[in-house]
């Protein structure tokens, strides 16, 4: 391992410790939501919103139907490209023949067993897994942003990243088989979110409501504390077992390079349930946008909706993390892009984010496997290269808006 270890002796970076920016609750979120509410809304604007005007959006919002159509077209194109492009340099006719070879009643083609295996065993599960993971990360990000009314919320917010990382590290350092990684990561993520949510709710009830932003504020803070705690455990375990650094590090960087059909079948049930629950809650998320008090006034059981959406998003994101590691920024970039182009209503943001997230991750994965072919660039590097500048842009955009308020 010597040559290899040297390059990997640095531990995982501090990405898992969520920046404090996450807890900055947006003072203007309720106002913004009101401004964007449907005309049928009976909520009367609070006096403070009357003096404030929204900055013009960069784009005129496009119609919902068109947004869905554009995202779907992008998904179809990226899936076709994902199967057709790769470091083996197969020609398009070869790929087409390789695909048809496995279909019933196909004519016989002179395509080699190796090319067929490349297309069916390597590229296709990768693309399908990219679709599932991308939709969950983007959908989960959008859902968390809605639930916590925080534009910088991402799918790893409540300790998922740290919990999954600890679960994976425990398996790696204890010499468990690779097959144990996904369930361990999934379990770690689920336990971390349960701890965060439980502790956050308790703290929120016992503390003064205004002190740290009430219920959601204390949940976000609990998430940061849990993430720090679990990351410390993980780092300690890794230091104790330095020879496993590379394996853990690779997992943390994330990627779809090891994708198999069994990964797809493994996470499909969670992704399906999560997607259905999130999409059916999209209208309730819109009601939440006006603020907790107003939503409660509308007869919405805020705590129940929040818990349902958090559980659904956590299931989906934890399943995605279990098979693909930590892929950053997808959950930030995609929902915000959708908001800026198609408007802030969750009726559009949730489904379009899921479709767009799938397309984005499949495209990012094509870059990951071709930019430095035949080496693979960790997909998290690609999404972060695109995502970090975008993240800064979102920060600036939000700052300008707040200054106006």
């Amino acid at each position: 391992m010597t040559g290899l270890m040297r390059r990997h002796t640095t531990g995982p970076d501090s990405e898992q410790v969520r920046p404090a920016a996450y807890v900055h609750r947006r003072a203007d979120s309720a106002a913004e939501a009101r401004a964007a509410m449907t005309p049928a809304s009976t909520v009367r604007p609070a006096p403070d919103t009357l003096v404030r005007s929204r900055p013009a959006l960069a784009f005129k919002p496009i119609r919902p139907g068109r947004a869905v159509a554009i995202a779907s077209a992008a998904l179809v194109v990226s899936v076709i490209a994902g199967v057709a492009i790769g470091p083996a340099g197969l020609s398009v006719p070869t790929v087409a023949e390789a695909i048809m070879t496995r279909l019933p009643w196909h004519p016989s083609f002179p395509v080699s067993a190796i090319d067929t295996a490349i297309v069916w065993q390597l590229r296709m599960p990768r693309v399908v897994l990219g679709v599932l993971v991308g939709s969950m990360l983007a959908g989960g990000g959008a859902a968390y942003q809605g639930i916590f009314r925080n534009p910088l919320a991402d799918p790893y917010l409540l300790g998922i990243a740290a919990g999954a990382g600890l679960g994976a590290t425990v398996v790696v350092v204890s010499g468990g088989s690779q097959a144990l990684l996904p369930p361990a990561a999934f379990g770690g993520a689920a336990v971390a979110v349960a701890l965060t949510y439980g502790l956050g709710l308790t703290a929120g009830r016992s503390g003064r409501q205004g002190a740290i932003g009430g219920g959601t504020g204390s949940i976000l803070l609990a998430g940061i504390a849990i993430a720090a705690l679990l990351t410390a455990f993980q780092t300690y375990l890794q230091q104790e077992h330095a020879q496993t650094l590379q394996a853990v590090y690779s997992w943390i960087l994330g990627g779809l390079s090891g994708a198999t059909w069994s990964d797809v079948w493994l996470i499909l049930p969670y992704v399906a349930v999560s997607a259905v629950v999130l999409v059916t809650h999209r209208r309730l998320l819109d009601v939440l946008r006006v603020g907790e008090a107003e939503a409660t006034g509308h007869g919405l059981d805020v705590a129940r909706v929040r818990l349902t959406v958090v559980i659904a998003a956590t299931l989906g994101v934890a399943a995605a993390v279990a098979v693909s590691g930590l892929i950053g920024f997808v959950g930030i970039i995609v929902p915000h892009t959708v908001r800026m182009t198609a408007g802030p209503s969750y009726r559009i943001v949730l489904p379009v984010s899921m479709i767009g997230g799938a397309a984005f991750l499949v495209l990012a994965d094509i870059a990951a496997r071709t930019v430095q072919a035949p080496a693979e660039v960790p997909i998290g590097v690609i999404t972060a290269l695109v995502g970090a500048p975008f993240f800064l842009f979102v920060l600036r955009f939000r700052r300008a808006e707040q200054d106006l308020a």
Binding site: M1, L4, M5, T9, P87, I114, Q243, T244, R369, Q372
Partner: protein, 317 residues
């Protein structure tokens, strides 16, 4: 009682012989005959990768923080002078393994053993400077890139420990064994291609320009990673996608990620999605190396080379 002056040298010689024999007794290599003359070579200045290393007298409390250095020390007959080795130095088994870490070295923990020579292969956390400030000489033996590096490092260790002659003999023995193995290897019109696996997820491999690659080249083998150029070649240790490995369809798959840490073997490789179509898998041309031997550049490179030669000789029949 007053001892006559001329008796003193005799007593001293007797004492030295007694100490040396004690050393022989505890040395399991059992071939240590140079000890009596060892004191003669000191003080010595060894020119190593980390510059000139001054060693005042024959060290007898050596700490090795590198598994390869440990293997070399025992091979050249300096095993009896080794006081402690790091937690990864598992060969030879009689080496005094401790909790000391070569990857995360702690100067204070090392100094507690009162060493008179510390051998490292990696100046991690500037451990060399820290130990120098405690007046402990440090010999840096970095990972070998060529076979001649191996011989040079053995010679440096020999000079530093008072076993220069034995180090030379060990060099010669490795040289002749390698020549014999290379002579026994089958010849092929085209070089045999191989995929050498350091790790999965991602698949890290080696090119023929690396140390292991240069050993395999002696047997007429060529890495599929050799076609990778530019930054992707990663100084000879590229990672590559499964797609590239499948498309390259190597003659042999050589696994170095075996044992407790890697866990790979012929069965796990065959079970990977899509890999069953590879000719190396179909022909059972999967060579399972000992992960420890494969990651070190000590005397046991001979064993590695022999394992591969045996496999390709059997495969050529």
């Amino acid at each position: 009682m007053r001892i006559p002056d001329r008796v003193l040298p005799a007593l001293a010689a007797a004492a030295i012989i007694a100490i040396a024999c004690a050393a022989c007794g505890s040395s399991s290599t059992g071939t240590n005959t140079a000890a009596t003359s060892a004191a003669a070579g000191f003080p010595v200045t060894v020119h190593a990768a980390n510059g000139a290393v001054h060693i005042k007298s024959r060290p007898d409390a050596i700490i090795s923080l590198a598994p390869t250095a440990t293997e070399m020390l025992y091979a050249i007959g300096a095993g009896a002078q080794v006081k402690a080795v790091d937690d990864d130095s598992d060969y030879p088994t009689q080496a005094p393994r401790t909790k000391l870490s070569g990857y995360d070295p702690n100067a204070e923990a090392i100094a507690a053993y009162k060493p008179d020579l510390v051998v490292i292969s990696n100046n991690i956390d500037n451990i060399e400077q820290e130990l120098k400030e405690l007046s402990i000489p440090v010999l840096d033996l970095p990972a070998a890139v060529t076979l001649s590096n191996v011989y040079t490092e053995m010679d440096q260790l020999g000079a530093a420990t008072g076993h220069a002659a034995q180090a030379k003999r060990e060099d010669a023995s490795i040289r002749s064994e390698i020549s014999a193995i290379v002579a026994a290897a089958p010849t092929h019109a085209k070089p045999l291609t191989y995929y050498y696996e350091l790790s999965t997820n991602p698949y890290y491999s080696v090119t023929s320009s690396t140390f292991v690659g240069s050993l395999l080249a002696l047997l007429g083998m060529k890495s599929i990673a050799d076609s990778i150029t530019g930054p992707a070649a990663a100084d000879g240790y590229p990672s590559m996608s499964a797609e590239f490995i499948l498309k390259s369809n190597p003659d042999y798959i050589i696994l170095a990620d075996t044992g407790a840490d890697g866990g790979q073997d012929a069965a796990t490789v065959s079970a990977r999605p899509g890999w069953s179509v590879l000719s190396a898998v179909k022909d059972k041309h999967i060579i399972v190396l000992n992960a420890d031997i494969a990651s070190r550049w000590g005397p046991r490179i001979v064993d590695l080379l022999r394992d591969v030669e045996t496999a390709i000789t059997a495969g050529a029949r």
